[in-house]
Amino acid sequence: MLTLIRIELYKIFKKWRTYIGFIAIGLLVPLIHIAMLVEGERTLNFMTQNIQQSFVFVGNLLNGYLVSHITLASLAVHIPFLITLVAGDLLAGEATSGTYRLLVTRPVTRTQIIISKFLAGIIYTNLLVLWLAVVSLGLGIILFGVGELIVISSETIIIFKQTDVLWRFTLGYGFASLGMSVVASLAFLFSSLVENAIGPIISTMAVIIVFLVISALNIEFFAGIKPYLFTNYIMSWRLFFDDPIDAAEVIKATGVLIGHIAVFFTSALIIFNRKDILT
């Protein structure tokens, strides 16, 4: 199985499209950082204008942690797209290139093939999010230094001590990875159904966008289905930037996301095992 996974990872990283994600993040994130270098003070003042009326404060609030936090929040739609580029191609790509019949006629079970491809896709996803973390935090800390992290929601302002931030980012990025793994799993499922990677990419993005729109609409009709939309839980990495952390909510979100991954993966497994390879 390890051999199969290594082979799949090799195939993934030999395709140019794999690097689109890493390059895109490598360009987008510094762009956000530069924007914050230019506009950051003003942005921070805007964010804190109300408390500034009543309080005097000192400290480096415009720091790498704040910029990283903003970066993570603003890439909610872009990262899924970069994930689908690769995950959507994992199975459909074999059909397009005609290599299914090379692979499936080897003495390995279809289950092993699916698991290895799936795990390779998840590894790619995690590497991409790790790259985001490294570039975002690394560049942020280099350009802006460290300091307390201010997190503003519609209900509260929380300022986390400098020493209380890094572990939150670790768990937050870890959770973002889990969320992106759901996206990868969905793209993977779509990939098992078709013979061209474009279909899974577009379908996955369509599902995400539709779900996000439904979540955002304040229409009673949708109130019943909102809690079941996985897109709600993808942004749950924010839970780690709360004080105290709502453990029950974290567990629930984790369960929902893992549940989705399990369902998408199992469906793909069943489909692939039954599939007649005609390409």
Binding site: V58, S153, K161, D246
Partner: protein, 233 residues
């Protein structure tokens, strides 16, 4: 403005019913003179913020003060102080022209304190009315209650260390009521449906307290003007 005039009238009226048997201006002068023995000071602070919508870690900072009105807050990390409690010197509290009225004596925590009402004159001050509780024996202000135009009403409770001969507090409790603030979430792109609506109970006034401990005062050791040259918020 109208409100000030009304209050003024009401106080004069009240005052006319009770003959003034103390001179508020003299009492305040004594307090100012005692404070002015401090030419400059440096002090370490530990700040605890207890406000419902604000979660801030305990922070440590330093305040530098130089007569008459140079003051600077510094910290290695992050620190925040209520604007109205930052400079607690009598000079700051009694800035500009004002009218002082003796109201009464009141016993608080075993001490007899003199209540003086201070009404700033003119329109530049944010404060409409202040009440000062003065310890005439020690010539220090123990409590301030101020009503402002922009920031509601706040109270400052001051404790003093008997060992310190200067009018510099060892503890300050700053209490305030503010309107619930609306925070811009545009930068955050919040999309989660979790609601902490339970925190909002219908009324929008939020109570808050800030506890400040002062220690290790360095008084009249000389402080260079350059210390105050950084931009003070």
């Amino acid at each position: 403005m109208n409100m000030k005039k009304i209050i003024l009238l009401m106080i004069f009226f009240a005052a006319s019913l009770y003959p003034q048997n103390k001179e508020p201006d003299k009492i305040l002068k004594d307090v100012i003179n005692k404070f002015n023995k401090v030419k400059d000071y440096e002090v370490d602070l530990i700040i605890k913020v207890d406000v419902e919508f604000l979660k801030v870690p305990e922070s440590s900072a330093k305040i530098f003060f130089k007569q008459p009105d140079k003051i600077s807050l510094k910290s290695d990390g992050f620190a925040m102080l209520p604007r109205n409690g930052f400079d607690f010197s009598p000079n700051s509290l009694l800035k500009g022209d004002y009218t002082a009225l003796y109201e009464k004596e009141e016993k608080i925590d075993g001490r007899v304190l003199t209540l003086i009402k201070v009404i700033p004159l003119g329109t530049s001050s944010d404060v409409i009315l202040s009440t000062l509780w003065i310890d005439e024996g020690k010539k220090v202000i123990r409590k301030v209650e101020s009503t402002t135009k922009m920031s509601g009403t706040f109270t400052i409770d001051l404790e003093y260390d008997d060992k310190l001969n200067f009018a510099l507090p060892s503890q300050m409790i700053f209490s305030f009521n503010v309107d619930k603030m609306n925070f811009p979430s545009a930068m955050i792109g919040e999309t989660d449906t979790r609601k902490k609506r339970s925190k909002m109970h219908g009324d929008t006034l939020t109570k808050g307290k800030v506890y400040v401990s002062y220690s290790d005062y360095k008084v009249n050791k000389g402080i260079s003007d350059s210390v105050f040259e950084e931009e003070n918020p």
